[in-house]
Symmetry: C2
Subunit: 824 residues, 2 copies
Amino acid sequence: MGDYATFAAFVTHDDIARVSSQTAAPRSNSLAGESAAMRAFQETREHGYDYVCVPLTRPAWHERWKRMCVENAGDVDGGGEGDRGGFKEEEWEGEGEREAEGEKEKARRDQHAAVEAEAEMWRKQPHFLHDEVTMTRLDEAEGVIGVVSDWLTLDSSDDWVRHDSEIALHQEIAYASYLNIQTVVLPPPRNREHVASYARAVNECLKRVSYMKFSVQLPIYDPAAFQQKETPRLRSGSTVTLASTLSETPPSTPRLLIPGNDFPLRPKKTRASERELNATWEMWDVIRSVCDYSPRLTLTLDLAPPLPLNPTLLGRWSAEPVQNVLLPTSTFIANAKGYPVLPKGTQTFLKDNMKHRPTVLLSGTKLGLHGKGGEAAYAQYVRHLEKTSPIAQASRKAGSVENFAQGYQDFLQAPLQPLMDNLQSATYETFEQCPVKYINYEEAICRALLDWPESDRIVICVAGAGRGPLVARSLKAIERSRRTAHIIAVEKNPNAYVTLQDRQRREWGASVQLVYGDMRQITVPEQADILVSELLGSFGDNELSPECLDGAMRFLKPDGISIPSSYTAHLAPLSSTKLYNEARQGGELKSLETPYVVMFQNVNVLSGNGGGLRGKCGPAIQECWTFEHPRKDATLDERGLPPTNSHNIRAANLSFYIPHAGILHGLAGYFEAVLYGNIGLSIHPQRKDQISKDMLSWFPLFFPFKEPLYLPSNSELQVSIWRLTNERQVWYEWYAESFLPVLNVAPRAGDPVLETVSASASTASFFASPTTHVAVPSPLIDAIDPASPPFFVREDEEAAKYGAVKVGQSALHNAGGRSSWIGL
Amino acid sequence: MGDYATFAAFVTHDDIARVSSQTAAPRSNSLAGESAAMRAFQETREHGYDYVCVPLTRPAWHERWKRMCVENAGDVDGGGEGDRGGFKEEEWEGEGEREAEGEKEKARRDQHAAVEAEAEMWRKQPHFLHDEVTMTRLDEAEGVIGVVSDWLTLDSSDDWVRHDSEIALHQEIAYASYLNIQTVVLPPPRNREHVASYARAVNECLKRVSYMKFSVQLPIYDPAAFQQKETPRLRSGSTVTLASTLSETPPSTPRLLIPGNDFPLRPKKTRASERELNATWEMWDVIRSVCDYSPRLTLTLDLAPPLPLNPTLLGRWSAEPVQNVLLPTSTFIANAKGYPVLPKGTQTFLKDNMKHRPTVLLSGTKLGLHGKGGEAAYAQYVRHLEKTSPIAQASRKAGSVENFAQGYQDFLQAPLQPLMDNLQSATYETFEQCPVKYINYEEAICRALLDWPESDRIVICVAGAGRGPLVARSLKAIERSRRTAHIIAVEKNPNAYVTLQDRQRREWGASVQLVYGDMRQITVPEQADILVSELLGSFGDNELSPECLDGAMRFLKPDGISIPSSYTAHLAPLSSTKLYNEARQGGELKSLETPYVVMFQNVNVLSGNGGGLRGKCGPAIQECWTFEHPRKDATLDERGLPPTNSHNIRAANLSFYIPHAGILHGLAGYFEAVLYGNIGLSIHPQRKDQISKDMLSWFPLFFPFKEPLYLPSNSELQVSIWRLTNERQVWYEWYAESFLPVLNVAPRAGDPVLETVSASASTASFFASPTTHVAVPSPLIDAIDPASPPFFVREDEEAAKYGAVKVGQSALHNAGGRSSWIGL
């Protein structure tokens, strides 16, 4: 199965200094030529880490930059605001005053001008001095994840600080590129108001260095959301960055690390609003949208803040490109024996995210924060979580979809068109591997036989026999039910028909009669009591089962049984950066117009149950339409065929409740079929385990959207989807609109509904106070989940308080993916 | 100047029947071979109409369609819902019962099956019978605008009625295409819930007939918005369509047509909410979005309902492709002399929309609704409005921008790059035509000279002299101010430099000294007291004035004067279907990444004044940034040039209030410059007339967006725009996010603010009761305008009630349009 996580350890300047201060390398003479940095990295790798994570620059660079770009700007006009150079115009007024200017003032101005000239020279040709960088040699930088200076404020409210930060960013990226570093971690965005400037700067990096990967460090939420509003929030200069994590000294009282204890000095809230918890994701969304979903842009999720227990709020990260997971050892708590373990919420989240195959970045392993286990205990514990993660467990289990589908996750396949194309034997082979599907077919046929009036000669017709799996199952069902039955097997694939003849001679004999040809054209020797077919696609009707069975219904006696007797298509709105990028990479204009078959992994279903604020939405996964066989009261021509395909059009208008803000990238399509009675087949995520557990034959369908659509928290998504047909083809078209409920009337004061649409009026820098992840609030904090029962079990009059404002729409998707249905 | 409006008249089946019943054509024997339809159309054209507007089908077709597709569906199962064929499964249960079925019932079923078979044959091969169509001959259909059957309900809530309506639609379109009809009018959408299905059907028409124009009939608002809520609204089957307009008998009491009188039987509201008045536009937006802004899709605006007086709400139609304007004569009221005139609101709207060059569709001119003027009075009155329309008046006025810019409206031009390209003499000629600009320059130079200390030798340097207009103006200013001054004229265009030498010899003599070369490289013989330049673009700095003047500042004495002394860029969010399509048609991927110079016409500025619900937004048109010359305290190298261009970067973060829902297609860019003192140049729409009225030199800039962004009513638009630079280029990048204010806290009951975000809870068919435009409510009805003062002059505590939810975002625009700034 292999491992899911790789590991990286942070190496600090102190770590390197410590190695440097040691005398000649102790282990081997061959190390003598290595630098202190290399020896420090080597030591880390010997502890089993795949990568080391190292700051690109040293404090000396920060000092020089601050002197040139921050302190000098503030020196004369005292704020750094306004035009570069910083002198207020008024200071120049008055010829006489200027001459009277004191010596000291003149010296100060000369000094200012000199530093400004130095800064301009730097801006013109940015370069480092030797003691300003951590690494200088190509061999030092091998296997290194570079960490960009965390003090760069690309989203500063000060135009000039922001601009000089960007120049410095490009300088660091260029230097990392010189050292052939493949991945860099960017400092977290801190200021919602100017996050677009941060994003634009990152986009510029992506354009300038065409191979490098950029990973944005980001906490899952702003820890300040759990502080009392009375606490003043700092505007900038405070971070949850790697560097501050590393330089933070461990708290003297270890009880702060124990869950359930509040930080004694600053009271914390234990609940935060949806909006507050959304803030960091909303910034990430701006960044990746501005960077047009570059596949080289990933996330380094900072798990230092305690995670909310609400799983729906964390689900959104499943749809994002989480490359790295940052775990400072201060996030760990001590278990009863003193060994480091993670709080419950973090455990669950980390296990769930093993499917992303993350690199786990551990920092502070040398600080000795926990009594037992030593430096290695942290990685060992994460390995333990990996082994017990859902994905690892499922993959190990033979017969599970996860085991069967290794390597197919998030891989887009064009749906089969078995009517147009004759399948290959290998394709049949793959599908015949699924035992569950055929077990259910056998059971359905068996029950139908038992329910059917006893007779000398019951006729079963297998329409589309392929290589014969349903023929074999029909024979078994006849045997089990002890009925006298004859089988007619129809197949139009001339190649598969050879296999059928082979099996008839060697296995089946006279009880099976073969008929070659298209079921919509041929005639059969006698009408059947039971018609069995397996023409279903991932969305039920998408491989043209309705059209084929319209042709085959002539083979069935007027009150005969069709297996399947019906099938229903289902939809849910989906978010997935991965699938959006995969669909786009098709390159053709039409690659975003075609539904794909795909095994979902890095996806998030955006819809929730509960009906929404207005109580008008359906469940998270909704039915589109159903096809039944045989059709009742169909108009047929003299050949027994429907004159047009008009009856097979369908349309659905679905309303989904979107509890948490997210980006709509497409629709997930599922089917559920009734074979006979209560025997069925289902890939509906919430029902498949009851109906056909471990069935491997179908992955879901993905209907992509050309442009991502932003959906606010608590919004409603209206999806229109059509199954259309003309004389030659069948296809789907789809379209979506989003709405936001708004209050119609004044509610009672204190009505809890209000809180769910409430918001902090502040849109200023949200990245408030220094992140105090060493002072862990209770890991039992939770988000106010608007989907929790008290809000939604409400009377009609409550729901009637809301109207809805339209807030967005998609394009109509219809250009491609048409299936030809008449080969006649 | 030409006419703005063309005219079309409705010809009804009754009109044709009347002509048909007359004996042999009275006027000429050559008409003998013409059909009744042709004679009716000819008669209409002789009344001066450019086109006739004719229903494509006759009532017989409606009867047949209804019998096949509506009545038969409802015959057996009583509703037409459910599967085609309509029999409920239960009806088939029980072998015995079926045999006992009565003869009558069997006959009924046979009849049903026969009609269903007929319907299936129609669906398979749709065709008309002779008496079901209005026209049969190619020559009959010449100059005809075809009107699609208004009873087609493409947005019916019944799946099968909708589907059969679409088949009938394609049948009519195919027939119109057979008759070579170029334009058809489509029935209005009526059902918000299923408008996406209507839209999809229209999109299919656009694909099937690749040349035909489709015009969607639509009232500006749903007249039902002004009915009391107690009035039950019908779900469908009620229309404001052409046909009902025509068949409606005139009211017996003419007083109903007089403004100010309420309809006596049904009380009306005189105010409706923003939401109610938005409904028809919102449906139009869905239709054109689903049809991907096809240039062949236009609007036929139905002006029958009385128009609200609120101009901001009507402004949105300026941005839409209004092809036809529908005016039933019942919309006209009688003036004091008994002649037909339009109500005030309709007058104003029609005059404003003359710029669309609409076709005015008049119906009911033969009904004799008004005492005076006869049949011709309606068109004569509209011609009168045309002549007094703002566009016609402005175009007639010599020297006005509208007169100067004939043919340039909404035409996208790439901005000039005078630094990179040497302009042609014809280009200089065009710009020198503008008297206002040079008058203001002369005035500014004159005042600067008067303010400057008297001296033997004042030096004026014209940086970028071109063909010499500023040199000539400087000489005049010297003369007017009676100063002794010398002019140095610098020009880098070698071709224009020949013209300068010519003028020097012939006109100017020794008082003007010419220097050839780039102002960023050359030296001048002496430093100037006044530096005059005209390097401004539509957005101020977009033709690289800051970079050029950085080079020329060496020519200016330390406390010398620069004319212009500063310039400021301004932005406003813009909606325009026309400009969006023009920018897209560039074809290249980068055509939506470049700002364009364009004379706006079919546009609507989406932003309003007043600060928005939260009081946090700026005015409708906002300042981005300013450049000042000379720069104070600049860091310069030994040549006197800035070491980097870093100081010329700029960024702006603007917050716009969007009072009415609309689609953002781009940003309008304007500039305002201070030449000297209070003399300036401005293309700011609200200020240009005070500062530089009738200045022709600059059209605004248009920054397009790749994807239209939906903005809800009362939303806030955050626009980020950057002016960026590297070693070689200058360019802009832009990005937008939209937010919707939501209530933070429980407001006081009855707080009027609530009403502005209130909504009808009903999302069902809004197209409620039969449109009663003959029973005209007061034309003085008005929308509740959230921008009216009482809502916005509010204290901070009121604004603090609101938070904001993000609802959408654009892509970052940055791929193209970079101006090279170093030719050094």
